[in-house]
Amino acid sequence: MADLDFQKQALAHLDALYNFAMYLTKRPPDADDLVQETYLRAFRFSHRFQPGTHLRAWLFQILRNTFLTFYRVREREAPVAEDGVPEWDVPMFHHAPEDDGTAMDAHTDLERAMRRLPEEFRTVLLLAEVEGLPLEEVARVMACPVGTVKSRIFRAKERLRGMLTDYETK
């Protein structure tokens, strides 16, 4: 298991990981489980971490891989809500306490559009635009070339714009 210094450094990124997990899983209990599993794996394999590289990107990579391994299976089996609206289409930020009314409305549409993006597009936007990771780190997390990351970001934004336009005209 990891030493206390490593644990302390890793736990400094807890909020960022939890935020990312919430965007991926959409449910706080799942986000809790995902983050905890991520940390346990990180501590268990801390010897594989290369000092000098970005610990945060390494943790995001573990979290995404864990999500893809375990949670997407569950996501596919998510039940349809009583009102008939699939759960993935429910706005995620309507309980965010720091939003005022205007921002809430805009964020709701934006978030709804984010949720409808394929995971590859959603994740690159979250890492690059929300978390502010350099493209090289995003490429490492996504295990793909930087060019692919740029392409995905471009295409993701195009899709977002299209969906936001659809919401606005409804």
């Binding site: 298991m1 736990l11 935020n19 934004k157 336009t165």
Partner: protein
């Protein structure tokens, strides 16, 4: 409105960066730290010690039923406990043979091995109840049961006890006799010897007033009963 979303790349990036952030609950940090902490290591000697203790306990449970009952080391106490048990049995289930002395004496002598040339058969205070042979401390003996006017049961027992030594520290002077007064399990017992025969009178008369009457009953029985080995 449609124009609103023909926004520039920078504008959309700003909106994405401004999305609300979720902070991890405090309990999550605690649970991660707890889960990451290695469980306290058990001392290396603890497992063998627990195994040995469990084995010992299991053996004790197996052996306990076949161990001999704990009996007093003092022979007098052993006798007293035996006669008290016999008295208790009589109180609970009554005497097994209710014969009227002295017609039953030949049979009683034959069965008990104790002859009673003289025997107390009761008076105005003590009523004869029954007489029967008993087997106590690996000896045949005779038991005679009485009831006093207040309802107290008394059991007189005589059986061979050549090695029995009446303890001097418990002796109580009553007239010309000095029997020992011993207590066991809430009962009081007079203990004395006549030759090689050990004699006992057991009753539940343990209070100070009762003991005074118990002395009188001893006198009545002792002065009129003469047990001797029959053979």
């Amino acid at each position: 409105m449609t124009e609103r979303f023909d926004e520039s790349d920078e504008s959309l990036s700003r909106r994405l960066a401004g999305l609300p952030r979720y902070a991890a609950p405090a309990r999550l940090r605690v649970s991660i730290v707890e889960a990451a902490s290695p469980a306290p290591r058990r001392p290396i000697w603890l497992s063998p010690l627990l195994a040995a203790a469990a084995t010992t306990m299991a053996l004790a449970l197996l052996v306990l039923p076949v161990l001999p009952r704990i009996t007093p080391a003092d022979p007098v106490q052993r006798y007293v406990r035996a006669v008290v048990s016999e008295h208790s049995r009589t109180l609970m289930w009554g005497a097994r043979h209710g014969e009227i002395l002295p017609t039953a004496l030949p049979w009683l002598t034959e069965q008990s091995g104790i002859a009673l040339p003289k025997v107390f058969v009761g008076d105005e205070r003590l009523t004869f109840v029954a007489a029967e042979p008993v087997y106590l401390e690996r000896q045949r003996g005779v038991a005679i049961h009485y009831r006093d006017v207040d309802g107290h049961m008394l059991t007189y027992i005589a059986l061979p006890a050549p090695g029995l030594a009446v303890p001097d520290r418990a002796r109580v002077p009553i007239g010309r006799w000095r029997p020992a007064l011993l207590r066991d399990s809430g009962f009081a017992s007079w203990v004395w010897k006549q030759g090689d025969v050990g004699c006992f009178i057991v009753s539940d008369m343990v209070s100070a007033d009762d003991v005074e009457r118990f002395k009188e009953y001893f006198t009545r029985i002792r002065s009129t009963t003469e047990p001797v080995p029959a053979h």
